[in-house]
Each structure stands twice: as C-alpha cells, then as structure tokens.
Homo-oligomer: 170 residues x 2
C-alpha cells in the first residue's frame, strides 16, 4: 500500500507519499498555484501538477484532509475547490479516495484529537523517523493525513481479524 | 459564440447552452449526482457528465455562477467543489471560463441587481423566446449566467468600439 496524503489548498496543495508497511517516506512537498491569475488557471495548474505526482509515484490510495475550519466563506469555497481538484486527479486513475477530518488526523497521528499543530508535526517527524519536521507545513499536514489513513487501515484490519471475519478492504 | 452556462452544485449541476448572436437556446438541463455515495464518486460522475455535454455541444466559452450566499460551511464547500469540477471540465479542452456573481447576473439579465429569483427566471424565458420558464430551476439559473455572459460581451464590445479601439476579447 502506497498512500498519497493531500492537504488541499488553492494557493498551495501539500502532498506526501508514504509506503504503508514500514511508514517509509517516498516524497513530499507543496504544489504552488501561479499567483495573480484567474482561478480557472490556478486550479488547472494544480490539477496537472497533481496528476504528474500521481503518475510518477502511482499511489494505491489517496487520503485528503477535509478541514472543518475556514476563516471565511471565500476560504471555505477555496478548500472545496482544492478538494475537488484532488479528488478528480485521483478518481481519474481509479484510485480510491478517503477523507479525514482534522480531529481524526490528530487522534490517529498524535493519539489526541485536540493536539496542537506543532505537536502533530513533531509526531509526524518521529513516526517517519526524520531528523527534522518536513517543510513546508502543507507537506507536513499532507504526510499527517497519509499516516492517519495507514493507521486507520491497521485498526480496521485488526478489528476485522478479531471478529474472525475474512480480511477485507473497508 | 456558443456559451455554456453552469449553475454549480454537487447534488444538481444546472447547464444551459445558448448561441450568442441570436440568443438561441441549444439545450439545457440539470446533471444529477448519484445519491448516498461518497463525494468522490459524485464529483467524478458530474465531471464525466459535464465533459459529455461539452464534447457534444462544443461551446466556445463557459460562464459559471459564483454564488455569494451559502446556507452553511458544508454548502459553501460543496459549491467550491462543483465550481472546480466545472472549471476543470472546461479548461481541459482549452475553453475560457468566466465567473459571475448572482448580483451581476441579475443586473445583466433583468436590469436590476436586487431582482427576485422568479423575476430573473421570467426574464430568461422572455429573452430566450420560450413559452414556459425552463425547468428545473438549476437549468434556468444556468441559462441566466449564459445570457449574462453574452450581454457582458456585447457591452464590452460596444465600449471598445466607442473608444475607437480595435475589437478585442476581454
């Protein structure tokens, strides 16, 4: 299982790729939209760049953060636009998409849903065995949602095994 | 000039196609997303259906309503998602995209920015020479944004001509 985590934004789209079994970081970064151009151009650029990332790394699953806070209506709409860009780039190749709230990500990455941003970033660093916290923050957030998805998978696998049922993908 | 107007939504995506010179209605309707399935599936379906509409009717320009009201955060995010779907379906084929606020649409379609929804629908019906207001409402709203774009074009062409400058696309 190779997971592409995405922190959706129309200014910067954070991405992080992790190989599931050993939580091995494959790559991470932030895709930047051109500034001062119409929104159509920005979304198209992010879409094409994300398609390139997907084509290069061939993730088997995509996990997207679904933020539950946004400063205002415009910011909320922008998050929706960025989510759609990420979803379409993944579904186009038939890759299953999973959405996670920030609370769930904090719970599964740091063990506590109300953790601060720095605490989550530090847990991302530790879990991935890195010397320094990944930068920029968008990339660190994207790695966090990828870890969250991998842990969620482990949990549901354990629960399934405990019930004596055949292992299945949720 | 053939304009595809879009009223973006993740439950129903209204569309309306108008040939510019004579304001001739080519087609209109609403694309419906499957219910009770994950958002990724819904967005992908709307995207594919919209691509089909674009491939069939080959619009030269796409006009999208950018609502400035949404009931809540979730509805606002959904509008953002639907906008992104529409934008990507158009830019994929290199078709220029234009966004219009509801106030601008009301101004240019009914002559008054604070018009009620019924008044705008009635003006859409009259301007397009139809016997009845187009249904569903999503389709009527999509036709309204297409008309808005065509009128906006006429205005900017007139302004340009009055200035004695060469005609140019804005």
């Amino acid at each position: 299982m190779r997971v592409l985590g995405i922190d959706p934004g129309t200014i910067a789209m954070g991405y992080g790729i992790i190989d599931g079994e050993e939580l091995k970081v494959v790559d991470y970064g932030a895709l930047l939209a051109p500034r001062g151009v119409p929104i159509a151009r920005r979304l198209q650029t992010l879409y094409e760049d994300l398609r390139d990332v997907i084509a290069r790394y061939q993730p088997s699953e995509v996990a997207i953060e679904e933020p539950n806070v946004a400063r205002n209506r415009r910011a909320t709409m922008a998050v929706g636009q960025a989510q759609a860009v990420a979803i379409l780039a993944a579904t186009e190749r038939g890759i299953p998409v999973f959405n996670y709230t920030p609370t769930r990500i904090k719970q599964l990455v740091s063990g506590y849903g109300a953790s601060g941003k720095e605490q989550v970033q530090e847990m991302v660093r530790i879990q991935l065995g890195l010397d320094q916290a990944p930068q920029p923050n968008d990339a660190s957030d994207a790695l966090a949602v990828a870890i969250c998805h991998i842990v969620e998978r482990r949990i549901s696998r354990l629960l399934t095994l405990n019930k004596g049922e055949p292992e299945k993908e949720s």
